[in-house]
């Protein structure tokens, strides 16, 4: 116990103030209101990679870091599709992932939505001509909204989710 107190005194406050971008705050406030109204306070997303280069994953993870902190607007990433309201799909849908993607979609309870993230999820993007991709998520599942960019930056992702709620 004494060590913990000593440590606390020596270290002081290790957290630090984070400068927030007024733009994100504005989007966030609007988003929070909509999540509260439409989805009864929280909105849960399950992310599925179907063959992206992992830059999109990196940016999606970045939306949850303390700077953007998407959770405070009521949006969470969950571990199981059974807990999800929507799927966030990245990648051009490799043939191998086709069945897994469909099964994940089936596991999501109704009502469910599909959001695609990144240029290759739209129509295959740079991988369009490949023998092993399904040329975008829309050929496999009904897609509600697309987030363009290669990869889209965190602000773009948050904005796109806002436009999804407005739809």
């Amino acid at each position: 116990m004494i060590n913990i107190i000593k440590n606390r005194i020596i270290k002081g406050v290790v957290t630090r103030a984070i400068k927030t971008d007024p733009e994100i705050e504005k989007i966030g406030a609007e988003l929070k209101g909509l999540v509260y109204k439409r989805f009864n306070r929280s909105f849960h997303i399950r992310e599925v990679d179907t063959g992206s280069c992992n830059a999109c994953e990196s940016e999606i993870i970045a939306t949850t870091n303390p700077i953007y902190d998407i959770q405070r607007f009521g949006i969470n990433f969950v571990a199981s599709p059974r807990h999800a309201d929507a799927l966030l799909v990245t990648g051009p849908v490799s043939k191998n992932m086709c069945v897994a993607l469909k099964k994940t979609y089936e596991a999501v309870p109704e009502p469910k939505f599909v959001i695609t993230c990144g240029d290759c999820a739209l129509d295959g993007g740079i991988f369009k001509d490949s023998y092993y991709v399904e040329k975008g998520v829309k050929n496999v599942l009904p897609v509600t909204i697309h987030i363009p960019g290669c990869p889209p930056n965190p602000v773009a992702i948050i904005k796109a989710i806002l436009s999804f709620f407005k739809k």
Partner: protein, 502 residues
């Protein structure tokens, strides 16, 4: 040139490979085939070894006998060739005779019919999907009380897709088999028939977290073929960006290791630092992941005086933050306890498997292309990191040391950047030929072997990401550990699914 091509007859191929394997004490760093049936009516097979002492890459090369598609396997004698032979069999339909494992890697049996080989020049995509469905057979561990735990391909976190099959007896893992290839996109085939500028763009999409290293290695290969002298300033700029990429990924790894043992505060701290670096990248180059910076012959972005100042300012703040982060982690006994002795990869195992890069340095194999094939790194002071214990702790330490070293390197390189041109784009002349591009990316050495035709069209591009070597290393390192420790072992290697699956 630092490539030596040695042509041997098929019957001497194995002997030659064994000779160089022993003589250079190098694993098979690359092994691939090339479809030459239009010209020579045969397939050409290359097996590449790293000759650090002689500063050469040794290519042992053979032609398969005319109109046959069989060659003698070397996998029984050189373990690190095994996966490459499976790849050759799957992509070209050339049978490595004697290889004990011929299961498919990327073209999964469930969706891909037999008899279609994508990298052959006369390949046509099958019209319908699989005619007869086959199932992949996992290695089975038998015995009383042994049970299997399948995980994936869709995982719990925001991570890419892969399947892991654990065999456990009680708590400890006694076998782990990773079945990958889920994110296969046929990238090597996409390169074929395209011009080199598209190639640069495509290489940036091979693995998103090492976009810069990938395009750098590709440009290096093409520049060697075209015999372009890249201006020194461009080389310095490239290393600055390469080290920046290493820094943000190491932060990601350090944070990831912390979060995988449930220590979330430093993980968040690291993620803020990573975000700061990504924003810095955006300020310097216009792209958070350094895309579009590399072009054939140099770079497209210069560091102006203002940018240099910003860079150094951010680095200074980063140094302070990193010291905090380090203190936080190293002073937590329970955190250290979780890392120490977890997921040990022994040096001998790592050598046999052909593990490279960060993971190899943690197991006591002192290989770093920045030291072994230095290029511009010879002009500054560089200390390669090394550790011996081979556990998660060692891989964590290597990240910490390399992060600090990268800051040092950037400062030294920024000092050296003076006036001058940043690319020699206008001097490009098309030539045909082959070339090997390599770079020490943050995971380890990354290789691009490129073959160009006279009109500047890519005929073949073989990519080997360090992940391709290191996945096997992960599977061995978790043996004897419990499944709850798997995430932290996995994160300590931090391998790319996309770069492995191509």
């Amino acid at each position: 040139m630092d490539e030596a091509y040695i042509y041997v007859k098929p019957e001497n191929f194995k002997k030659a490979c064994l000779y160089f394997h022993k003589k250079l004490s190098s694993p098979v760093v690359m092994m691939f085939a090339c479809d030459e049936r239009q010209k020579n009516k045969c397939f050409r097979i290359y097996c590449v070894f790293m000759g650090v002492k002689y500063k050469k890459w040794v290519f042992v090369t053979m032609d398969t006998a005319q109109d046959t598609s069989v060659f003698e396997s070397i996998a029984r004698d050189i373990y690190s060739a095994g996966l490459f032979e499976r790849e050759i069999k799957e992509m070209f339909g050339i049978l490595p005779k004697g290889n004990p494992d011929l299961r498919s890697l990327r073209l999964h049996d469930e969706v891909w019919p037999e008899g279609f080989y994508p990298l052959r020049k006369d390949f046509e995509a099958p019209k319908s999907s699989c005619a007869e469905k086959k199932e992949y057979v996992f290695n089975k561990v038998e015995g009383e009380g042994v049970f299997e735990v399948p995980v994936g391909p869709v995982h719990a976190g925001i991570i890419p897709s892969g399947h892991f099959r654990f065999s456990c007896a009680g708590e400890p893992i006694i076998n782990l088999e990773a079945r990958l290839g889920w994110t296969h996109k046929g990238i090597e085939k996409l390169f074929e028939g395209k011009d080199v500028n598209f190639g640069v763009e495509l290489s940036e999409c091979v693995a998103g977290d090492s976009a810069f290293s990938n395009s750098n290695a590709f440009c290096h290969a093409v520049e060697k073929i075209y015999k372009i002298d890249v201006p020194e300033k461009a080389m310095f700029l490239r290393t600055v960006f390469l080290e920046l990429e290493r820094m943000y990924n190491h932060l990601n790894g350090i944070g990831g290791i912390a979060i995988d043992v449930g220590f979330s505060f430093p993980a968040m701290y690291a993620s803020v630092m990573k975000e700061n670096l990504l924003c810095l990248n955006k300020k310097l180059t216009g792209s958070r992941y350094l895309k579009g910076v590399n072009i054939i012959g140099g770079v497209s972005v210069d560091l102006t005086a203002w940018k240099k100042k910003t860079l150094l300012k951010v680095l200074e703040a980063m140094e302070k933050d990193f010291r905090q982060l380090k203190n936080m982690l190293y002073s937590s006994v329970s955190f250290m306890d979780r890392l120490d002795g977890t997921g040990v990869l022994k040096k001998k195992t790592a050598e046999d498997l052909g593990v490279l890069g960060l993971a190899a340095r943690s197991s006591g194999i002192e290989r770093d292309l920045r030291k072994d094939f230095p290029g511009v790194y010879s002009k500054i002071k560089f200390n390669a990191a090394k550790e011996h214990s081979g556990d998660v702790m060692a891989r964590f330490n290597i990240r910490v040391i390399e992060f600090e070293e990268s800051m040092n390197l950037i400062k030294q390189f920024v000092d050296k950047i003076g006036p001058g041109s940043i690319n020699s784009q206008n001097k490009i002349e098309f030539r045909d030929g082959v070339g090997l591009g390599y770079i020490e990316a943050w995971r380890g050495p990354l290789f691009y072997w490129v073959k160009l035709s006279k009109s500047g069209i890519i005929e073949r591009c073989k990519i080997v990401d360090p992940s391709f070597h290191n996945w096997e290393g992960l599977c061995y390192s978790v043996l004897g550990n419990i499944i709850p420790d798997f995430p932290v072992c996995n994160k300590s290697f931090d391998l790319s699914y996309s770069g492995n699956d191509l």
